[in-house]
C-alpha cells in the first residue's frame, strides 16, 4: 500500500448491492467479511482501492467490494494489476486469486509480480481444488486426492504456495485461514508492507474438498496444531491443558527445525527460536516444515521490504527524461534531414 490520508468508513461502506453467489458455508464469506472489517480500520479510501482478480470462485471477490474492481481472465490478474499500478501508483491494489488461478495457469505471472515487487496485497485462497469447474484436483491438492479428473487419486506432488512465493523473491509471506480471528491482523501487516505482500489463505471448499484443513484449522486442538508467529516473540505452541507447551528450535547440526518441550515456561532453556520476520532462512524452514511432526506456521512468516518496482520505474522514467522536452515537432525532425526547396509549382 501507499502513504495515504486516512478516511472514516464502516463495514457497510465496503459492501456492494450485488448478491453474493458463493455456496452457503463457503470459506470465502469469512474472508470477505474479514477484508470488509479490516479496510475501515486501516482508514482506506474506497475510491482509491482496487480489487483485481483472475478466474475461479475466489475471483468473484471484486464484485462484492464497493471499490473499483476488475474481474479479469484466468491466471493473468498479476499482469493487469502491474499495468494498473504502473499507470497510477496511488492506487491501493488488492489481488485476489486461488490455487489454480495463481499457481497453475497463472504461475508465471505470480512469479514475476513477486520478483518485481509490485506494491500490492496478494491474497491467494488455497482450497486445494478447482471449485468453479466442479472439483478437479489442483496444483496444491495432496497426493491421492480423489476428484473427477483423478478418480483413484492424484499422483503428482503438490506445490507449496509460500515456498513458491519465497523462491520467487517475495519480500512478504504470510499465512492465515478463512475463519481465523487473526486473519485481519495478517491483512493489516500485508497492507503495511511496501511491496508485493503474499498471503496464503487456507479456505474451506465445503462442496468439493470439505474440511481438508481441519487437521490444523479446527478449533479442537488448535493450540497444538497452529503456530502463530509474531515478530520478536518465541515460537511457542500447545498448552498445559493439552499436553504441554512446545516450541520450535533449530537443530544446529542438521540445520533444520525441531520441536522441543518447554518446561515451566522456560523457553530460553529449551532453545526456542525468537521469530525474526527478516530472517529468510528460518522463513524457508518454517514454510517447508511438514505438518504433522510440526504445527502449521501461520501469521507473518517473512517481512523484509525492498524498494518497489513502480517506484523504480518512476525514478528511471524521471532520470531518462531529465533535460529533455516533450517537443513532438523536434522529435519528428530528429536525425539527418534535408530540405527540398520550393522551386515554384509542385512537380508531378
Amino acid at each position: 500500500m501507499n502513504e495515504m490520508t486516512k478516511i472514516e468508513t464502516t463495514l457497510k461502506d465496503w459492501e456492494t448491492d450485488q448478491e453474493v453467489r458463493w455456496c452457503p458455508g463457503c470459506g470465502d464469506y469469512a474472508i470477505l467479511k474479514a477484508v470488509q472489517r479490516t479496510l475501515p480500520q486501516l482508514g482506506c479510501d474506497p475510491a482509491k482501492t482496487v480489487f483485481i482478480s483472475g478466474i475461479g470462485c475466489s475471483s468473484r471477490f471484486p464484485y462484492y467490494m464497493e471499490t473499483y474492481g476488475f474481474h479479469t481472465i484466468h491466471g493473468r490478474a498479476p499482469a493487469f494489476a502491474t499495468g494498473a499500478k504502473l499507470a497510477n501508483p496511488e492506487l491501493d491494489v488488492w489481488l485476489v486469486t486461488g490455487d489454480g488461478d495463481g499457481l497453475s495457469i497463472g504461475g508465471n505471472h505470480m512469479m514475476h509480480v513477486l520478483r518485481r515487487n509490485v506494491n500490492m496485497q496478494i491474497m491467494l485462497f488455497n482450497n486445494e481444488i478447482y471449485g468453479l469447474t466442479k472439483g478437479q484436483y489442483s496444483p496444491t491438492s495432496r497426493i491421492g486426492t480423489k476428484s473427477p479428473s483423478t478418480p483413484i487419486g492424484s499422483v503428482d506432488r503438490p506445490a507449496n504456495p509460500c515456498a513458491f512465493a519465497l523462491g520467487a523473491g517475495a519480500r512478504f509471506v504470510a499465512r492465515g485461514f478463512d475463519v481465523s480471528k487473526n486473519l485481519p491482523d495478517v491483512l493489516k501487516a500485508a497492507h503495511a508492507h511496501q511491496g508485493a505482500a503474499f498471503i496464503e489463505i487456507f479456505q474451506n471448499c465445503i462442496v468439493y474438498n470439505k474440511d481438508v484443513f481441519d487437521a490444523f484449522a479446527a478449533p479442537k486442538g488448535a493450540d497444538d496444531h497452529q503456530l502463530w508467529l509474531a515478530d520478536g516473540e518465541p515460537m511457542l505452541f500447545g498448552s498445559e491443558k493439552t499436553g504441554g507447551v512446545k516450541g520450535i528450535a533449530l537443530d544446529r547440526d542438521l540445520l533444520e527445525l525441531k520441536v522441543v518441550d518447554v518446561v515451566d515456561g522456560d523457553w530460553q532453556a529449551a532453545g526456542v527460536l525468537v521469530h525474526n520476520v527478516r530472517n529468510r532462512s528460518i522463513a524457508h524452514m518454517l514454510i517447508e516444515a511438514p505438518f504433522g511432526p510440526f504445527p502449521m506456521a501461520l501469521g507473518v512468516i517473512y517481512d523484509d521490504p525492498r524498494p518497489t518496482y513502480e517506484s523504480a520505474v518512476v525514478e528511471e522514467r524521471a532520470k531518462s527524461s531529465e533535460g529533455k522536452s516533450a517537443n513532438l515537432a523536434k522529435l519528428l525532425a530528429k536525425g539527418q534531414t534535408w530540405t527540398v526547396e520550393d522551386t515554384g509549382g509542385h512537380p508531378a
Binding site: G69, A79, A84, H109, A333, G335, Q336, T337
Partner: protein
Amino acid sequence: MATQTADRAASATPQAGPDSVVVRFAGDSGDGMQLTGGQFTLSTALAGNDLATFPDFPAEIRAPQGTLFGVSAFQINFGSREINTAGDAPDVLVAMNPAALKTNLQALKPGGLVIIDTGEFTKRNLEKAKYEVSPLDDGSLAKWDVLAFDISALTIEAVKPFGLGNKDALRSKNMWTLGLALWMFDRDRQPLIDWLNAKFKTKPVIAAANIAALNAGHAYGETAELTGPLKKVHIDPVAAEPGLYRTITGAEAVSLGLVAGAQLAGLPMFFGGYPITPASSILHHLVRLKEFGVTTFQAEDEIAAICAAIGASWAGQLGVTSSSGPGIALKGEAMGLAVMTELPLVIVNSQRGGPSTGLPTKTEQSDLYQAVYGRNGDAPIPVISASSPGDVFDCAIEACRIAVQYMTPVILLTDGYIANAAEPWKVPDPASYEPFPVQFLEEKNAGDTLLPYKRDAKGARPWIKPGTPDLMHRIGGIEKKVDTGNIDYSPENHQIMTDARKAKIDGIAVPDQQVSHGDKTGHLAVVGWGSTYGPIRRAVDNARRKGLAVSHIHVRNIWPLPANLGELLAGFSHVLMPEMNTGQFKTVLRDQLLVDADSLTKTSGQPFQIAELDEAIARYFDGIPDNEGGEVHANTQQLPTPESGHDDGSLKATGDAQ
C-alpha cells in the same frame, strides 16, 4: 584486379543515363551489410533521390561464418523518379564472399555489375558455399560485368597506420566497400565521416580506421574506372514536394505515430511488449521516448504484455501492446476481455511468415484472418493496415483515435517488410493533426446513479479512472448488464449486448475509399492492402502508360470497410487482389461485398516483384488492342530463398530468432 565484361549482343541498347538504380549489398551476417545498407540509404536520401529499401537477413544471430544460410543482404532502389519498391532485380551486386555470390547472383540483371571480394574466395569458403570450382575461373559469370579484387587486403593496407590486428582491421571492410559505392554514385562522404566520428566518439582510433577505409574505397573508384567496367553514375534528385525530409523505417514510424496519437488524446502512454521478431524494435524506440509520458514494460510473456496494457488503460492511460503473429495468438483471450470491458487499447502486429514460428525475419500478410476473426465469441475489433513505412505514422494516430473515441481495442497491421524498410518521409507538422482529447467521467452520469455502460451517440461507454471519488464500480469478462455493467447472463441481455458491441464497431466513421491511382471505373481494379502498395502502384502505372484501363485501390480500413467500397468496385469489370497470403482479404471482400474478386497470392517470404504484377494485370487484357502487356514475362529470380541456399538444412542449435 580481375575484370570481365559481359558478353553482349552487338545491338546492345545505347547507354542512357538511368532514372533509377538497384544495388544489393550481400555478405556474411558478420560483415555489417545491414549497417552498410543503412548508411548508403542515408547518403542516397541526402542526395535527394527517392528510394525504397529491402533488408533481408537470416533468422540466426551468428550463423556459422561463410555459410549459405548466413548470408545477409540489403537492397536499395533509388532514382530521380518516384520509387515505389526496392526493385525487382539489382543492377549492381556487391558480394563479400562466395556464399553471398551464390545466393544472390541469379537475381542480378543480365549485364549487371557484380563486385567481388576475392580475398574471401578461399578454398574453405568456396566449399562452404558448395562451389566445386571457383566461379571466378569457370566462366559462369560471363553474362555479367565482373569487378573482382582483394577488398580484404586493400582494407588491411588502408588501416595499417592504426595498428589494428587483422581481425579488427577486416571489420572496416564494409566501410571500404561503402566508400567505393559512394564514389560510384557521386556521393558526399562527409555525412558518413560525421556519423563514424559520432558513433565511435569514445574510440577515436576505430573511427579513424573506418574513415581511412571509407576514403580508400572511394579513392579506389578512380583507379578502377580507368581499367575496368566501373563507371561513375550520377542520379539527379527526384522532384519532390517542398519541405523538410528524413528517412524513416516502419518501426520508427509506428513508435512516433503512437507518441503523437497519445499526445493528441492528451494521455500518457503505457506500452507492454515482449521480445519478438520483427516487432521488438518498437519497444526499443519507445523506451527512449519517456519524456513524452511513455512507460514501457517488458513483460514476462506476450499475455502479460497485453494484460498490463489493459490494466493501464483501465487506470486511465493509453494502453498499447505490440507483437507478431505467434504473440498476437497468445494475446487473443485478453483482446476479448478488452472488447467485453470496452477499454481503449492499440495492438500492433508486425506480421511475419507463418504459421507457428514460420519465417521470423521474412514478410507476409497472413494474419488478416487472425486480426478480423481470431477471437472466441463475437468479438469485433477495428483493423487498420499501413501501406508503407511513412504511412504507419498516420495509421498509428488513427488507431489511437478510434481506440479512445470508441472505447475499443484496435489492431494495427504492419509487416516485417514495412518494419525494416526505409523510405524518405516528409516530416509532418504535428499541429496539422486534429487533437482528440479524452474526457474521463468525473461524476455520476444518470442523476444519482452511475451507469458505467451507458453509451454515447457513437455507442461508446464512459471511461472512468479508478481513484475518481464516488464512481466505484466493477468490470470484468462476464457478460455485462445493459447500462449498469453488472453481471447478467440472461438471454435477452446477451443478445442486446452482442448487438451493441457489433453496432459500435460497424458504426465507426471510416473515410470513403479513394482510388489510389487511376480512374473511378474501368476494366480492372487491382485492390491491395498493406505493404503491397509499392509494387501494385508501379505495376498499375506501367499498365496505364500502355493505355490499359486499370486502377489501383489500396484499402487502409480492413474492418470496418469503407462504406463506399462495394459501390466503387462495382464500377470495374474485374477485381484482382494481390496478397502475400493465400487470399485472406479476398475472402473478406467476397463475404462482405459479394464481389467476384480474383486472388494473386505469394507466400515466399519476399515482397511482390513488379514484373509478377505486370504479368497478372496483362492477363486481363489479352486480345485487347494496344495491349503489349501479354508479352511481359515475370522475373522469377527471387531474393534468397530456401532453394537458393538460405537454409541448407545444416542449421542446428543456433537459436531461431523469436
